[in-house]
Point group: C2
Chain length 318, copies 2
Amino acid sequence: MKIVITGAQGFLGRRLTETLLSRTDINIRKLILIDVVKPVVAQDDPRLQWVQMDLSNPDGLEGLIDGETDAVFHLAAIVSSHAEQDPDLGYAINFLATRNLLEVCRGNNPNIRFIFSSSLAVFGGELPAQIQNHTALTPQSTYGTQKAMCELLINDYSRKGFVDALSVRLPTICIRPGKPNKAASSFVSSIMREPLHQQRAICPVAPELRLWLSSPNTVIDNFIHALTLPSLPQRSWHVINLPGFSISVHHMLEALAAIKGEEILGYIDFEFDAAINDIVASWPAEINCEQALSLGFKADSSFKEVINQFIRCDMRFE
Amino acid sequence: MKIVITGAQGFLGRRLTETLLSRTDINIRKLILIDVVKPVVAQDDPRLQWVQMDLSNPDGLEGLIDGETDAVFHLAAIVSSHAEQDPDLGYAINFLATRNLLEVCRGNNPNIRFIFSSSLAVFGGELPAQIQNHTALTPQSTYGTQKAMCELLINDYSRKGFVDALSVRLPTICIRPGKPNKAASSFVSSIMREPLHQQRAICPVAPELRLWLSSPNTVIDNFIHALTLPSLPQRSWHVINLPGFSISVHHMLEALAAIKGEEILGYIDFEFDAAINDIVASWPAEINCEQALSLGFKADSSFKEVINQFIRCDMRFE
């Protein structure tokens, strides 16, 4: 397979690259890794091609996506708090760059499986206790708005046969390794990751706030499932709510204490931040993901297992 | 008031212009009438300024929308069947031109009341018997997709205070005077208008098909209500389903025969057209419009009254 990944230097892009290369059931012939930041080449594999480019300028894309390309994972994005502060940059990357990519696929090879990383942030406002497939998208953030616009555009391109696309709505990912970022949800990983490293973390939301989460490994497995899944019927809706689990911040901390002892919670300062709370509280706490499960996407077994997965897989490599 | 109307040479634009000029309760200081087609100046009123421009190129807009502009009615669009055949032109006008207009408002005067003509075509696919406010937008046409993307964008611009906007979703309008156009719904007026003029018309859908309709006069009154309505709270959802009524093609023909006699139905040929039927059948047959009614928008009283309104107001002037 010849695959293009955008946002390839991000956390998900890097993990997807590693996983694709290591999977023996997928024959990777070439991985083209696009990112706006200069590549930090950690792997020396002849199948990798690193490309530094700004997707808001489509020049050069034509030569990277061609008749031999099997799939594009479009992960590049301006994250939630960043897009809220700079909606124009958000629009350029989160929306226009997506359209540029779709146009190149349409022109060069409409059979490309186009996998778009969407988000639960497309939901917002007054939501039902559990989001259903037919729940309206009323995002309360610029990021969610731009993702929702892309889902519509991508669905139309699929319906017209311009591309073979699937938008997958990611739960909030926890526990991300590395550093905090500008996503409003950044604290969700911080309040687990930093204490595990004996570092202080700030919790900017009320402990009662419920979140819809997935572990990184499960999201990556689901991305790869989206790659190998047979095409959906052209006129079906080309958006999947990826499986996740619903948990309150309070229960996340309880699970952490159960594994590492109560004293670990001393690393967390509760400093309420209305701007972050507003964005995160507008996201859904629970999503019906029966459709995704019936299509073979998978969910984490428990939050304790998610913490143990982080300790086992991620802390070793940091 | 200083008001800009795009698509001003279209049927709704012309009727909105006439009505605004004639209403004694609204003090019109200036009406800037933008359209891509050369103006046919029917009215000689010093308050009118005709501008021929293609909205896909925003040059010149800056000078037309300024600190003194009170409102923009954005009616310009590539209609449904046309956008389905030429999605790129649809994208340029239905989406990009909307964004260009929003950007000029944002830059020059964020207090402008921006009224966007959206459509029931944002709905599609498997729909509930009655559309609710929280029903997901899953359009099955390029036109509906582009309108839905604009609604999202406009809502975000409103939420951020870039503009004081309201998207109003129009029912299918019946009876339009004049000639058929490239809208998939063009037949809805044709099967009434042409027989009333002793001309033949084609009905391309099954008589059982139910439609969600509004008369032209009611839509224009609702447009003007959207102009004078107090601003919605910034974080509410800035989209209104305009009131309409649900009726089958069969019952429309029955009402026509009740007014003009059975023999008028002889002017109609039933020639099923799968392409048109597909688009129109994907639209909702009924929409819950309680919110609109509570905000003071109004509905037609009966379809017979709609036919009589056409005979009384429109046939005289053709």
